[in-house]
């Protein structure tokens, strides 16, 4: 059973990781705890579903449309609720509350438009499974897992190698200096939000497909867990988000399997707290030395 549970845990973990990567990236650039990310993830899943079922579009077309629209939604959220605060140099907690407002708004908007009941998410990719040593691994699980890796490697390459990636890193390190060096900060932030939100749509769609159900509240816990995963791995460090996500998924699954299913989230959070106490900047995060 332990092997099967590990596979369960790794799959759950990769759904967290998928969400956490986008989260971590936005944080890395803006140092902003974006509580609307969970809701954006939910909207992404809904958009794919709506294109797929109501407009009867092809899955890949729906998926692509959802990615683009969700990305644009990310930009819109930034323009409406965060940009004005940045301009006024407002304290960061203000932005945090603002994103919470956006999150509540989006959740209820989706509920009003599409209803609050849980919806079926059709299985478009044939869910075959292989059996290895008595353990079932479905292809969907493998797709989700490899998707995580591909996105992580892709993003990392982009951030390390491309021009916009370099601009992102410069902005992350010192926005003022980056501005002086002629980097268009607002463009960088816009692209960051676009990519982060587009990734949320990818995550939402994949997770929706895996569980075959979505509802307007899936973003709440997913957002919290992604936040936890990103922080555990060292926020802003993309491979960290993957490791953090997988770790939380496995811990949660094993606690449900061997300790108590009621305490699964509590144990996951307890491990998170403990790890942060031992390593305050997350698993892969760099210890920032005091600047004097």
């Amino acid at each position: 059973m332990i092997l099967q549970q590990l596979i369960n845990g790794l799959t759950l973990g990769s759904t967290y990781a998928l969400t956490a990567v986008g989260y971590s990236m936005v944080f890395g650039i803006l140092e902003l705890v974006n509580f609307s990310h969970g809701s954006v993830y939910m909207v992404g899943a809904f958009l794919t579903l709506i294109f797929l079922t109501s407009l009867k579009l092809n899955f890949f077309v729906s998926f692509l449309l959802s990615i683009i629209l969700t990305g644009l939604l990310g930009i819109l959220i930034d323009k409406v609720s965060l940009y004005p605060l940045r301009r006024k140099n407002a304290p960061k907690v203000t932005a945090l509350i603002s994103t919470i407002g956006v999150s509540i708004f989006l959740q209820n908007l989706v509920m009003l438009v599409w209803g609050s009941e849980t919806k079926n998410f059709p299985l478009v990719i044939n869910p075959g499974a292989v059996e290895l040593m008595g353990v079932k691994v479905s292809f969907l699980q493998m797709i989700i897992f490899s998707m995580c890796l591909v996105i992580m490697i892709g993003l990392n390459t982009m951030i390390q190698k491309t021009r916009i990636g370099k601009a992102m890193r410069a902005t992350a390190q010192n926005a003022e200096a980056a501005k002086l060096m002629g980097i268009d900060i607002n463009r960088v932030i816009m692209i960051t939000f676009f990519i982060g939100s587009a990734l949320a749509s990818v995550a939402g769609t994949m997770v929706g497909m895996y569980y075959q159900t979505i509802d307007p509240y899936i973003g709440y816990m997913a957002g919290l867990k992604a936040f936890a995963a990103a922080v555990l791995g060292g926020i802003g460090v993309l491979p960290g988000a993957i490791i953090g996500g997988l770790l939380i998924g496995v811990i949660e699954t094993l606690s449900a399997a061997y300790i108590n299913s009621g305490y699964r989230d509590a144990i996951a959070f307890a491990v998170l707290v403990l790890m942060l106490v031992i390593k305050p900047s997350g698993l892969l995060g760099k210890q920032v030395s005091k600047k004097v």
Binding site: M1, Q4, Q5, G9, G115, Y220, E252, T253, A257, R264
Partner: protein, 381 residues
């Protein structure tokens, strides 16, 4: 100075906003003179249980419209006040306080969950206002006071019926249980488990999950699979049941499922399709029931909203209808309404014949249904 202006603007905006909103909500009070009877319908209109509150709303608005078009109750129109409690105990108590303060409110249909109903009950009881919950099945609810009624079988009734069916009819000896960790789920599980054990069944595993939070059931299912049961009893709402069934299928696990009347919703089949094929459940409302009142209700509901009414809509419809028939006897008086309601006998509702016993509980006949070929079908009367 510019800043001051902004501050003034801000404060006045809030004030204006407050005025508009309070203005909106207090308007109905002005129309009171027209001779209306105000009944409040309370449930989760927002939040993760909003679909149930929306079912309450749709069904009761449908009935109120019908009654008013037919001339109302003793010449007085029914005026519904739909109120949101987010299915939250604290909000529920706020709502209750608000409703008891409004002397025009004669009766309350609600709340949805036992938690909310229980939290609000002391306030209704103190004020002497009827709280008729269509769905709160926690055994303690009606013992909170003489103004608490329910229109649903308690789990003390449903649990043994289910256990009896599982052990005697299905001949299952090894049963696993998954329950939602709320007051309803716990009582449902407890009643089922003790009745099943008394009948000699072996409970192989009892696992809980947190509603609205747990989305991944694979560890629980894998764990249960290992205990080798031949039946899985689910004390859950239909949405989570759908998810559980899907994940069971995904793990390539084959097990028979049994659930409570909370699963009686077309949505379950839309949600999980083949994964819930063969699932057994108890029920007291069956949209395909050929009887006149059921078909009438289903037709009206379909015409108004385009969907088939579910269990929650049906039971809310019955609850309001019972309150209205009591109002015909009592007139718009809170205390008299209570007495008239308690007198109701053999009321022919869409959810079956209903009588309040001395504890203001109901005992409704239960049937067993099974999902077959993507449809709810009668299995055993």
């Amino acid at each position: 100075m510019k800043k001051n202006k902004k501050m003034v603007l801000f404060v006045s905006l809030i004030l204006a906003f407050a005025l508009v909103v309070t203005g909106c909500t207090s308007k109905p009070a002005l129309e009171e003179a027209a001779g209306e009877i105000k009944i409040a319908v309370v449930g989760p209109m927002t939040g993760d249980s909003a679909q149930y509150g929306q079912a309450f709303k749709k069904a009761t608005e449908l009935l109120a419209k019908k009654v008013n078009e037919a001339g109302g109750v003793n010449g007085k129109k029914i005026k519904l006040e739909i109120v949101d409690d987010k299915n939250d105990a604290k909000e529920a108590t706020n709502v209750a306080q608000k409703l008891v303060s409004d002397q025009d409110v004669i009766g309350v249909i609600g709340h949805f969950s036992s938690t909310a109903s229980l939290a609000a009950s002391p306030i209704y009881q103190r004020a002497g206002l009827v709280e008729l919950s269509p769905t709160s099945s926690h055994p303690d609810f009606t013992s909170q006071g003489t103004f608490m009624f329910r229109n649903v079988n308690t789990q003390a009734i449903e649990g043994p019926i289910l256990a009896d069916f599982a052990v005697k009819d299905l001949q299952k000896k090894n049963i696993a249980v998954i329950y939602i960790n709320n007051d309803w789920g716990i009582t449902a599980k407890d009643n089922f488990v003790s009745a099943a054990e008394a009948l000699g069944a072996n409970i192989t595993a009892v696992e809980s999950f947190i509603g609205g939070q747990t989305k991944d059931f694979t560890p629980t299912i894998t764990k249960i699979k290992n205990t080798k049961p031949d039946l899985l009893f689910l004390a859950a709402m239909y949405s989570e049941t759908g998810m559980i069934a899907q994940q069971i299928k995904q793990l390539d696990y084959d097990i028979e499922l049994l659930g409570t009347s909370s699963l009686n919703n077309q949505q379950l089949i839309e949600l999980a399709g083949p994964a819930v094929e063969g699932l057994y459940l108890t029920n007291n409302y069956f949209p395909e029931d050929p009887s006149e009142n059921v078909q009438g209700f289903v037709q009206e509901f379909k015409e108004a909203y385009g969907t088939e009414p579910d269990q929650f809509a049906a039971v809310a419809y019955d609850s309001l209808d019972m309150m209205i028939s009591a109002l015909k006897v009592s007139g718009p008086d809170r205390a008299k309404l209570r007495d008239a309601l308690a007198e109701i006998k053999d009321y022919p509702g869409v959810t079956g014949k209903t009588t309040f016993n001395e504890n203001r509980d109901v005992l409704k006949d239960m049937i067993i249904m099974q999902i077959k070929d993507g449809k709810f079908t009668l299995f055993k009367k």
